[in-house]
Amino acid sequence: MRPSARHIRHAFPRRALVGALAFLLAFLRVGEALAATIVIAVQSTDGRPLPGAVIAVHSLAGAARPGVPVQAVMDQIDRAFEPDLLVIPVGSTIEFPNSDSVSHQIYSFSPAKKFQLPLYRGKPYPPVRFDQAGLVTLGCNIHDSMLAYVVVTDAPFFGRTDAAGSWSAEVPRGTYRVTVWHPRMREDGELEREMTIGEGDRTSLTLRLLKPLQPAPLQERGHSWDAY
């Protein structure tokens, strides 16, 4: 599942179009077989599907370009980030409006993007640009329970698993490195596999986590809780 269209729109449609055409031409010239479908299924330790896992697929041939940068929006509603996870290609921007009646103060101390948005309401700041691949953890310096993630990826193919714990994409035949990450995963870093898309039209890979998921953030608590 890719981030919903509500939060992301493409920044440079013309550039995207040109990129896609160039990609297509490259294929025709090399004369490789047509693309195949790659299906990644992610399961928790008990075999149940894991929705919302972040999938990134890198080509081991090294030729594929990162995804086209997007302009995404991460709102703050009811003292929570909405959505609380975005997956964006390197070079994308995210706007962080505050739709709450109270002020927020957004920060990240993640190496992939350190930034701060001083105390604000509404939409006073320009979008923040994410130029380095990696995981960015966001918080609010006023409301400690607010937590969100931005996965900045240089993978040409990426997305999130759907409600059935599955994600699929059309990719050219070749060998790939598939990485899986989820905010509640206990595995150190990402789960990683290599896979080769050969003759078949459809290649599937099921990844099962080795450790149980971390507890999900608690819901339904009053917002003023943990004031002390």
């Binding site: 101390f109 507890p215 002390y228």
Partner: protein, 407 residues
Amino acid sequence: MERRSLSVALTCLLAVAATVGRAADWELDLDARMVSTDGRKSFVDGGLGTLRYDQGQSGLRLGRIRFAASQPLGEVWSVRIDASDWGDHDRNPLDLTEAYLQFRPYPFDGYRLRVKAGAFHAPISMENRAAGWESPYTLSYSAINTWLGEELRTIGVEGQLDWLGTRLGHGFDLGATAGAYGWNDPAGSVLAARGFALDDRQTTLFGRVGAVGSGPLRAMELFHEIDGHAGYYAGIEARYFDRIVLRALHYDNRADAEQFDSALQLFAWNTRFNSAGLRAESGTGWSFIAQWLDGETYIEPDENYLEWPFKARFALLSRQLGAHRLSVRYDSFAVQSNLPDGAGVQHGHAWTAAYVFEPGRHWRFTFEWLQVDSYSANRVLQFGEPGFVRETQLQLAARYALGPLAR
């Protein structure tokens, strides 16, 4: 520093806050109660009852009017005030429970620093986690936290440093806190005079506990400096995600127990204790809280050593289902005394059951049943009343909250 200087300092703080251009976040709450109780004469009126209301006060009561505001001062500083009216003819109709300046720099490399200066609650309670230092579980606080809200306030500086492991891919956060304070030398005097109680009336900075006149609780003013010694506390905290919180703290007001302020007619009470607390929450709406407190308070008039060791603990179990919350708490408490006549000895236990319905951000309805069984030597010695007493209190509370900080 005299009380007046403190008052001036706080007024200045408010004035600074008011003159800074940025709009403050604020909240105004009105909490009305229907009370039915057979409680003994309440401590509010100078009695030795363990409840906020006594049998003469059944009926419609004002639970609390509360105004709170948070005003940014530049980027990482802010001023917070919390003012309350408890509807019981305290010295000031509206008075501060907390007023402080806070420094909140942005977290750096996984560490977060918070510094407070002013008057505020020490980070001990596991149940008083909601705005206004209220408990979201019950109306009346546990015996431990009632006492903390009644006699203790940090009037000084506190620093807290947290390591935010959960933001770095780990399962837990760790924190350390330390405070240095003055103006709290009479802390312990209410405990020795009345013992523990279970209520939600936090003593205001310029307010009093008890009634004007004679008797065991004669309008005690708790936020005074008598001996010029600063007190301290130091504590640690560990969190497992947002599910489990553990806290431990050592507190010592380092009061010189030989000092007596004749103008105030108050001793410096040396009060020190250890406290520990646990809060665990499940993803299915269950919460469990336990707290423990063990300490002593003493004075040394005329080379006598008068000591009141105290101990209290409670366990609370709570279940939330949407906008509904049911909680049950068991409290146990005891104050000992080294006086020959046993003056000040008190022990007892209490059961609290509360149902909270919070349909939205404005309204909160609470129904609470509270029963306290206690023995008090002072009831026998000072009032000639029975030592053992059972007190029961029913409260129905409707609270309306207004403003951007509400809920």
